[in-house]
């Protein structure tokens, strides 16, 4: 019998990551961080609404000219969209699969129940479902304008004001932004832990950052519908 002089080839990188709980969690953390990065940029852009219609619409127009003249009008957005879509889909699939596994691993509840996890930690799954539904609504509302009755293509500022002049537009938006804040509060620190990027020493600072960022994002996003309701933006 010949001696094996070489070890077998290991299974493919993507396959072994996808099969492992730690690997799947890594995919969640990376896709979550990507979405978080996008949301921060999105918030910064949205706050332009406070400088008036011309500023805001000008910003929206500029977004379509990024990368010119190499990129054609609007191409930059079309490069970003598949990446974001992939992030949302991967994040959702891994969240679903890991959650099912977690439930199966603990089929018996304790008779003596205690509530100890923080609200943000407990609501990651339902918060994620709310966010998924919101993403669909949000695109139909302000991108494709399907559900926005008084919307006109090419007038983002006016469309935004129209959406926030409806009670349901405000309710959906504000609920989702509270969910985003809670999700980020647990998610940011969680992603650092999943990627092994935190240290015992930086942990406290990281948690403070997560809380601060969550608060800024929720308040920042909500300030827009509130201002429309108060007539500060119209």
């Amino acid at each position: 019998m010949a001696l094996a002089t070489r070890t077998e080839r290991s299974p493919s990188l993507i396959g072994s990551v996808w099969r492992s709980t730690v690997g799947k969690k890594t995919i969640m953390a990376v896709s979550g961080a990507l979405m978080l990065g996008y949301l921060i940029a999105h918030l910064a852009g949205n706050l332009k609404v406070f400088f008036g219609a011309d500023d805001f619409n000008g910003y929206a127009h500029w977004l379509r000219t990024i990368g010119a003249p190499i990129l054609h009008h609007g191409w930059f957005l079309w490069l970003v969209r598949p990446v974001l879509l992939a992030a949302v889909v991967l994040h959702g699939i891994t969240a679903y699969q890991l959650s099912r596994r977690d439930r199966a691993a603990r089929p018996h509840k304790y008779v003596h129940q205690r509530q100890r996890q923080s609200y943000a930690t407990r609501t990651m799954r339902w918060g994620g479902v709310i966010l998924t539904l919101f993403i669909v609504w949000h695109i139909l509302d302000l991108t494709t304008l399907t559900v926005n009755e008084r919307a006109e293509e090419g007038h983002p500022y006016e469309n935004l004001v129209a959406s926030f002049n409806t009670w349901y537009g405000n309710t959906i938006y504000i609920t989702a932004m509270v969910a985003v804040g809670l999700h980020v509060r647990h998610g940011l620190w969680s992603a650092a832990q999943t990627l092994g990027m935190n240290s015992a020493r930086s942990d406290r600072a990281l948690k403070a950052t997560a809380n601060g960022l969550a608060l800024v994002m929720t308040c920042g996003f909500i300030s827009i519908p509130v201002s429309v309701m108060l007539g500060l933006v119209d």
Binding site: T7, E8, S10, P11, L13, S16, V17, R19, S20, T21, V22, G23, K24, K25, T26, L98, R101, D102, R103, A104, A105, R106, P107, H108, K109, Y110, V111, H112, Q113, R114, R116, Q117, T121, M124, H186, W189, S190, A192, Q193, T194, L195, G196, M197, N198, S199, A200, D203
Partner: protein
């Protein structure tokens, strides 16, 4: 003191179980929790009943055999093992709920005894180092910096009791596995298997049906030995490093 105990009774692995109520009297506050159960069992035996089965061995907090969920907390209200928990932490007239570790990877064998051999299989898949047998090597041949030795020791304190799995809402063994991985991976002696160890142990952990980590932190709060939550982050980093390096598994 006088106590009301509500204990999970289950005759065998495939039998249904129920919470059963017992009254015990004459409990001294100097008794350990296990001595309190011994006291109950003596009375049960005298009355011709089946005693409550529970695991125990050293009764000094070092073997990890004992373990039960007391009032919804793994090992009860103090940060120690059940054998080192004393009745002075309860008051006369209390009702105490006692349940076995709950996780599909830890099936109940009888009453409060669960099968924790999944932990042995995780350790068997990588929780060792390859050392030549024979005479012991010269101690100073492999220098280990103090900080590294301390980190390894902090993780080596894990006694494998399973409280982390019992406390985790996902029945996850991440804290246990990470303590074993970090203990050996930070030491030079663990270097040759650094990649295969973390890959194989996580594979086995998953195959045994434990859940994943949602960074809830219940495990580290329950751990009687104070294994830090941060060990999980270190194991995750070791996993990513091994994966990116294309580390080989031994067990595939």
């Amino acid at each position: 003191m006088r106590l009301t105990l509500r204990i999970w009774r289950q005759h065998g692995p495939d039998e249904p179980g129920v919470m059963t109520t017992y009254e015990v009297d004459g409990i001294s506050e100097d008794m350990s929790f296990l001595e309190m159960l011994d006291h109950l069992n003596e009375e049960l035996i005298l009355g011709g009943d089946e005693p409550v089965a529970f695991d125990h061995d050293c009764r000094e907090g070092i073997c990890g055999a004992c373990g039960m969920v007391i009032n919804g907390q793994a090992h009860g209200p103090e940060r120690t093992t059940t054998c080192q928990l004393h009745m002075r932490h309860f008051t006369d007239g209390d009702t105490i709920d006692i349940e076995p570790w709950r996780a599909s990877a830890f099936p109940v064998i009888k009453d409060l005894v669960v099968d924790r051999s999944a932990f042995d299989r995780i350790v068997g898949s990588g929780g060792f180092i390859s050392a030549p047998t024979g005479s012991a090597p010269e101690a100073h041949a492999t220098p280990v910096p103090k900080a590294v030795a301390d980190l390894a020791f902090e993780n080596a304190e894990c006694i494998g009791c399973g409280a982390c799995v019992a406390a985790c809402p996902n029945g996850s063994a991440m804290l246990f596995t990470s303590a074993k991985v970090v203990h050996l991976n930070v030491l030079p002696q663990g270097g040759p298997e650094r990649e295969s160890r973390v890959l194989d142990m996580i594979d086995t952990m998953d195959a045994e049906g434990f859940g994943g980590c949602t960074n809830t932190g219940e495990c580290a709060t329950a751990c009687p030995k104070g294994i830090p939550l941060h060990s999980i982050a270190t194991m995750n980093r070791e996993y990513l490093r091994a994966t990116i390096k294309g580390g080989q598994r031994r067990n595939s």
